[in-house]
């Protein structure tokens, strides 16, 4: 009758049984131990919300001693990494659109002369605001960056220029997302996250479910080939991915008023490769996991870095090199660049190719690995 009456011996019996079962399920145990380690490393070391070392390009329209020393100081700065020096406007634009540079610092013609004459020349900063978080950091720091970069020049005979306010104006252009709305960045990125989540999770149980239900034995007793199982089991979910894509695109267009500026061909190529890569990733998990539960846990194991290391939540370039290398191995990292370039930056197939081929390589690698892991016998 008493709800709280209990026998500790029976509690102990169940406790011991659970311990034994936990010990048998090695993979689950490993994931439980690895999860906090991974989160600590990712949040503690990889993620940097105060972005530094962002890739920037400088477009020099004049070449004087002051601009040269300005460039040298910029290169030494920890805020930005100068990845290229553009010689003309067109080159500068291309660097920004392809995502090779997140910023373009333009030193206009006659800057030096007008500076010396105290005519308050303009220094132009074009920021790729399709990632407002990354852009925001540098935009707010730009006057400090410029002040430090010019400091060595404003010594000696030009010391009259070092008085505040600065003898130049900084004009900031937020490209691709002029109002700096986070939705413009987040919504296209969400398409990548949603597709990763569902595609990987659905296919991760593709084989484990057959094994758990005992139907794998029947399937293997037929002449079916591993590649036939793989293609047959994953393609139905391409439809699911297509429906999700349409929903997100409609929401982006009608709810969030996010423009679609680029090429549909580039978009279709990117999303097809991305969906296929995710399906293969899930399928690969299903060849590793022995139960559906393990498959789910492994999916989350993939999902966490996909959100944290892909540039979805935090600026990709601000992460340390090892975290960037990990991120490059994830399909979503490349897809995010493709979709942002296509939707926001008017990109075409040629512009996104730099992220399309890594996506294709990941796809082929995952599919080959999954096929190699598929066991044709019950051994």
């Amino acid at each position: 009758m008493n709800l709280f009456e209990l026998s500790w011996r029976r509690v102990k019996a169940i406790f011991l049984k659970e311990l034994v079962q936990m010990r048998r399920d090695r993979l689950t145990f490993a994931i439980m131990v690895m999860m906090p380690v991974m989160q600590l490393v990712l949040f503690g070391y990889a993620i940097n919300t105060d972005p530094r070392h962002l890739p920037a390009a400088v477009e020099l329209r004049e070449d004087g001693p002051m601009t040269r020393s300005f460039l040298a100081s910029l290169k030494a700065s920890s805020y930005v990494d100068i990845v290229a020096v553009a010689r003309n406007e067109e080159e500068g634009e291309r660097l920004l659109r392809s995502g090779k540079a997140s910023f373009l610092i333009v030193v206009p013609e006659g800057f030096e002369r007008r500076l010396v004459r105290q005519e308050r020349p303009q220094l132009l900063l074009a920021a790729d605001a399709s990632d407002p978080v990354a852009a925001g950091g540098v935009v707010s720091a730009v006057s400090e960056i410029a002040r430090r970069a010019f400091a060595p020049d404003f010594e000696g005979p030009l010391s009259y220029l070092s008085a505040s306010p600065a003898p130049y104006d900084i004009v900031v252009h937020r490209r691709y997302n002029p109002t700096g709305e986070t939705a413009v960045n987040i919504v296209p990125g969400l398409l990548g996250v949603i597709l990763t989540m569902t595609m990987v999770m659905i296919t991760s149980i593709a084989l484990t479910r057959e094994i758990e239900r005992g139907t794998m034995e029947m399937l293997l007793s037929t002449p079916v080939r591993p590649i036939e199982v793989m293609i047959g089991k994953t393609t139905p979910y391409v439809l699911v991915g297509a429906v999700q894509t349409i929903i997100v695109l409609c929401a982006a267009a009608f709810l969030f008023r996010i423009p679609f500026t680029g090429s549909w061909l580039a978009f279709l190529a990117g999303i097809s490769a991305f969906i296929a890569a995710n399906l293969m990733l899930g399928y690969l998990i299903s060849t590793v996991a022995r139960t559906q539960m393990q498959a789910m846990q492994l999916t989350f194991f993939v999902f966490l870095p996909s959100i944290l290391l892909s540039g979805f939540m935090f600026p990709f370039r601000a992460m340390p090199a090892w975290a960037q290398a990990l991120g490059e191995a994830l399909p979503i990292t490349h897809f995010l660049r493709v979709i942002r370039e296509v939707m926001l930056k008017e990109a075409g197939l040629a512009d996104v190719w730099g992220d399309l081929w890594p996506l294709l390589i990941i796809l082929v690698a995952l599919a080959s690995l999954a096929l190699a892991r598929f066991r044709r016998t019950l051994d």
Partner: protein
């Protein structure tokens, strides 16, 4: 003490030698030889865990043998498992069709996997043959054991295999369904389909043309069913009376009694030495005033005796290897 009495005439559908399978330290199947002629119904008997399922899986290419060689349906058992799979119908011990598909959908799936022409027509005919036409839209998972078994048989027959491998097909199935099942198997055999069937039921064993009996991974007997009682030479007495538990205890002490087993309201005492057995039984039954009569030794007694003799041997062998492993 492997006895070979199998039919030598006719083409061999299964012809394998030395098949061995290990799982870690356990030798699940040890040096198995199997010769099954075309059209035969071959019974595969043995206690649980004796290696029947493992053997069947090796024959149909679901497990890779660690050693051994041979041919199934003329194809190499090690390298041509794809060809073998196309021509074999394998019915798993556990129901292994899709429980969330209907009867018809399961049949259609199998028909397509085997790339059969006129899949619809074949499915229709299969449904008709097995009396499943009215139930074709029913979800397979909701079927009773007997109907599931009918469906499983229909599925492994749909591509008209030359060889049927049935792993305890009648486990958990009622006697009527079992009898129907065996009628079907015999019809298939008459059409030239070869069947290897594992079972625990003696009434099914006697329906087989030949029987291979394995225990602890080793084949102990392989002979035509009709020849087995004479080969083993086991004699039996049936004893009835009030206190059979005590009678059994007493009989087990007697020389000449090798096996005492309970059968319904009687106990059977068996032994190979007919005279010694008769003397022992008569001594005990006279003392305890029991009714005893000589009967023909059934398959059940024969197989219990075969396994019992083996159990002790295996136990000591197991002890020896365990000791070696520790050392």
């Amino acid at each position: 003490m492997t006895l070979n009495g199998g039919s030598k005439n006719g083409e061999l559908v299964i012809d394998v030698r030395g098949l061995t399978k290990r799982f870690g330290d356990l030798v699940a199947v040890d040096d198995l030889e199997l010769k099954v002629p075309r059209g035969a119904i071959y019974g595969f008997l043995g206690p649980n865990g004796s290696g029947k399922t493992t053997s069947i899986r090796m024959v149909c290419g679901l497990l890779k043998p660690d050693a051994g060689e041979g041919r199934v349906l003329g194809y190499d058992v090690l390298s041509q498992s794809s060809e073998i799979k196309e021509r074999v119908g394998y019915m798993t011990q556990k129901f292994s069709l899709y429980e969330d598909l209907s009867i018809r959908e399961n049949l259609e799936f199998i028909a397509r996997i085997y790339e059969l022409g006129d899949a619809d027509g074949r499915v229709d005919r299969a449904l008709e043959n097995l009396g499943l036409v009215e139930r074709q839209t029913q979800i397979s998972g909701k079927l009773s054991g007997g109907w599931k078994q009918r469906l499983a048989l229909a599925c492994c027959m749909i591509h008209e295999p030359d060889l049927l491998l049935l792993d305890e097909p009648t486990a958990g199935v009622d006697p009527k369904a079992r009898r129907d099942f065996w009628d079907r198997i015999r019809r298939f055999a008459a059409e030239g389909v070869t069947t290897l069937v594992s079972t625990h039921y003696m009434d099914e064993a006697v329906q087989c043309d030949s029987i291979a009996y394995i225990a602890y991974g080793k084949k102990l007997l392989d002979a035509r069913t009709a020849d087995i009682p004479a080969m083993i030479g086991l004699h039996a007495w049936s004893i009835e009376g009030p206190d059979l538990a005590r009678a059994a205890d007493l009989l087990e002490q007697e020389p000449g009694v090798e096996l005492v087993a309970r059968f319904g309201t009687a106990i059977h005492a068996c032994g190979k030495d007919r005279a010694a057995l008769a003397a022992a039984v008569q001594r005990v039954s006279a003392r305890e005033s029991l009714h005893a009569e000589e009967v023909e030794a059934g398959f059940e007694e024969i197989f219990i005796q075969l396994t019992a003799g083996r159990e002790n041997e295996q136990f000591t062998a197991g002890q020896a290897t365990a000791g070696k492993a520790r050392a």
